[in-house]
Subunit: 251 residues, 2 copies
Amino acid sequence: MKIVLLGSGNVASALGVALQLANHDVAAVWSRTAAHAKELADKLHTVFTDELSALPVDADLYILSVSDDAINTVATDAFFDGKLLVHTSGTSSINIPKISGVFYPLQTFSKQRAVDFTTVPILVEGLTDQITDLLVNLANSISKTVQKASSHQRKALHVAAVFANNFSNHLFAIAENILKYNGMEFDLLKPLIAETAAKVQVLSPQLAQTGPAVRNDQLTINSHKTFLAEHDSLELYALFSKSIANLSQTP
Amino acid sequence: MKIVLLGSGNVASALGVALQLANHDVAAVWSRTAAHAKELADKLHTVFTDELSALPVDADLYILSVSDDAINTVATDAFFDGKLLVHTSGTSSINIPKISGVFYPLQTFSKQRAVDFTTVPILVEGLTDQITDLLVNLANSISKTVQKASSHQRKALHVAAVFANNFSNHLFAIAENILKYNGMEFDLLKPLIAETAAKVQVLSPQLAQTGPAVRNDQLTINSHKTFLAEHDSLELYALFSKSIANLSQTP
């Protein structure tokens, strides 16, 4: 397919690479900031612009991969009249003027790390069955895991992803701070973090749970709370301990 | 070394296997519950008892791997007079009667999963330099990562491990619940969880952070809060979003 990428962030960048690997034609990159567009276009050996009116008008698909608050602003441009425009957001609905579909890759992308896109689940939604089919086919060309999802389901998935990724990453940052403060290196926790993630690939997280909260070991919980008395994270510690105990009592 | 294992839980079990792999002699397993002792002793092809007085008296080391509230009770037994007794707890201090050292393996152990013990950091502490050296040597025989740590540092590490492992696992359980409630499978999140853990092996978690909270994307945060309005996890969502924003503003 002949595709135009609108946006130059982590998602646009990873998507551009994956589309080219599957032999799609990334015909141009647009960004509001010309330098950002150029950076990604150089990586993809394609052309760039910061003017929508300078983009090719004959692409099969225009993929809008910008922040949620920018989607509305960009999508309303008259350039997109009669064109197939989709966004890549987990949270934004399909019901946005001139948006015909959604192409949501569920992964955390950083410019510093290459991700194997064939392992990235892609959730698609189209305004018509024909658009949905086109997006499913495109998704199947770059990923092994493709599903249709409604805007509501996609939002649920995005919220769940925030818990699973952003919040757990923040817990790692808190753990790093606790160690640094006590003269130890974050490296000590890396095998534990790797095993935590590996375990839930094969065991339900509820079954995988260990530690003082699920054992209702109040001696240890209180000792940890005392330890954290002066620390910002005491509130999180208490809330988690309560929440884990509640979940473990749910049949 | 000739070693007696006191306890039959996940840590005792993983440790017993690792000690045997390194050609140590696990001479007996003790547990307050004979059936539990038998189960582990069978796995290790050794003998078991639920009577401390029936244990070999000539072992080089007695490793007490029981819950924190049981350590004091077991350790006070007259059997341990003149013997080298260490515990494996992250939280308990070395200052417990008849305890001479600590041998703390930092990992989450489940009976369902075998862990490569050579990758498990072991933190040791001894009442004397001689005991510390003996424990360091033993730890080096089963792991590539061995460090001395004070009781205070070990507690910091255990608290950090609770954040990094138990709490992140609980976030995965919450994410699973959100997906189930909306008719989707937890499988969709597995690549994201794997990448979350893989990323912090090479990037500091603070640098690895992505998502609405670190971008200060209030539109998405508010949309997620509305989505979670009826859900138990709204309080955690709000607390994390605030905490991530605070950390990202720290220079």
